[in-house]
């Protein structure tokens, strides 16, 4: 199918941003954090704002945006309903410590925000799981939305911790590395699955027009982050730079992956038993 760039931008921003917040929150709970959660929240808010603007621009009649809240069964409505709560929650986290101090409630608000963020990602993932697009007709779609968020989030946290504390938070770099590897493995499984989805719409990513985004993903989304994160242990002096490169590459990788995700989502053929398509020639 055609690539909807606003959706590529918005889903990439959502995953990078929400992933960052969730990982940062979890990291803070378990390990404490040299970077205040409010900073994380500001970054997430900024990314969500970019993503939100992009997704509104995807609408052909953006002025009707408020119609989005009408159908509770639609994952898009669900996503839309979560958005204001998520926004407010993030804003509260962001302002915590400057405008006001939540004190002991900080952890609770952070948890609620992280849960809303996770729910948001789940709704987005579910929205794309649809029978008419065999490549998307699989739980892989949801799993990958979450895994890509985890990967980007974990790397992001590692980058920010390194920048703030100048230390190698070994556990977090390891988590980032492991989640990246797991994500890449699942993405590879998705690619393999696309080769045999049936309905006459199998996709071989080594063929055009899939090859470009696939190779880009492979480089930016898999090789560069894994290598950079591993090098953090080898060249600790360049840790911040390496981790930052891994983070940026992972964001580019998610974007490339999303392009491939759209391109590969071909609609079922009306008559997949034929090797050719219906045509309109006369």
């Amino acid at each position: 199918m055609q690539i909807h760039w606003p959706l590529v931008i918005s889903t990439v921003c959502q995953r990078v941003g929400l992933g960052l917040f969730i990982c940062a929150f979890v990291g803070q709970v378990y390990a404490g954090s040299p970077v205040p959660l409010s900073v994380m929240a500001w970054i997430t808010l900024a990314l969500l704002a970019v993503g939100g603007i992009a997704s509104v621009f995807h609408l052909q009649r953006p002025q009707r945006f408020f119609n989005a809240f009408s159908n509770l069964k639609s994952h898009l409505t669900q996503e839309a309903l979560i958005t204001p709560f998520l926004g407010v929650a993030l804003l509260v986290c962001a302002l915590n410590g400057t405008l006001f101090d939540l004190g002991v409630a900080t952890a609770f608000v952070g948890a609620v925000t992280a849960i809303l963020a996770g729910a948001f990602l789940v709704c987005t993932g579910l929205a794309y799981q649809m029978g008419s697009r065999p490549a998307w007709n699989t739980p892989f779609v949801l799993v990958l939305f979450l895994l890509t968020a985890l990967e980007a989030g974990a790397i992001g946290v590692a980058v920010l911790w390194l920048a703030a504390a100048g230390l190698v938070p070994t556990m977090f770099v390891v988590i980032a590395l492991v989640s990246t590897v797991v994500c890449v493995i699942v993405q590879a499984a998705y690619v393999v699955r696309m080769r045999s989805v049936g309905y006459g719409v199998n996709v071989d990513v080594m063929e055009e027009p899939y090859r470009g985004p696939f190779v880009t993903w492979l480089a930016a989304g898999a090789v560069v982050p894994v290598v950079c994160l591993a090098l953090v242990f080898v060249v600790p002096s360049a840790a911040v730079a390496l981790a930052a490169v891994a983070w940026a590459a992972s964001a580019v990788g998610i974007a490339a992956w999303t392009v491939l995700f759209f391109k590969g989502a071909r609609k079922v053929k009306m008559f997949p038993m034929y090797p050719v398509d219906l045509n309109l020639d006369m």
């Binding site: 052909q60 119609n67 639609s74 079922v268 009306m270 034929y274 050719v276």
Partner: protein, 199 residues
Amino acid sequence: MAEKHYGMVIDLDKCTGCQACAVACKMENNVDLGVFWERVYRMGPIGTYPDALEMFYFPNQCMHCENPSCISVCPTKATYQTDDGVVLVDANLCFGCQYCIWACPYEARTLNPNTKTVEKCILCVHRLEKGEQPMCAYTCTTGCRVAGDLNDPDSRVSQILKDNEDRAYRVHPEFGNKPSVVYLLPRKGAETLCRSIGR
């Protein structure tokens, strides 16, 4: 009396691909250029000339499914189903997110670049309600399409379905959409299709 369930039967054995339905639909419903609520596709010819060749025409429009996948994904409730089973789009609600276009397995929906909302066949409900055939069926040069109440066993559409049960085919039944547009398989020219669905 039971509720009505409007549907249509299209006999692929009769269709000659003349596109009269496509033009009639445009005229009747003032459909914009570049947008088609109805058009006739062709499969083939495929095979080795002059034997073993297959070809058939396939008029395509909204299937007015009983369980439409477009309705559940629509965040605005612009897409809805009438009590008579017709699936419609309220152009005043639609904001053009196009998720319904993606979710429809039948290529029935189009984004109108002028109105920036999604459009599709309305089964000419304004005509059906007056007891008239949709314009595509009214004008069809081969008489291959008949619309009517599928719940009424005496309606012409029900009769045709009953008489041609062996050829009745709902496209992609496995999605569970339960299309209300039922095709009658061609008696010739679609051997691969018939074989693959066990007919």
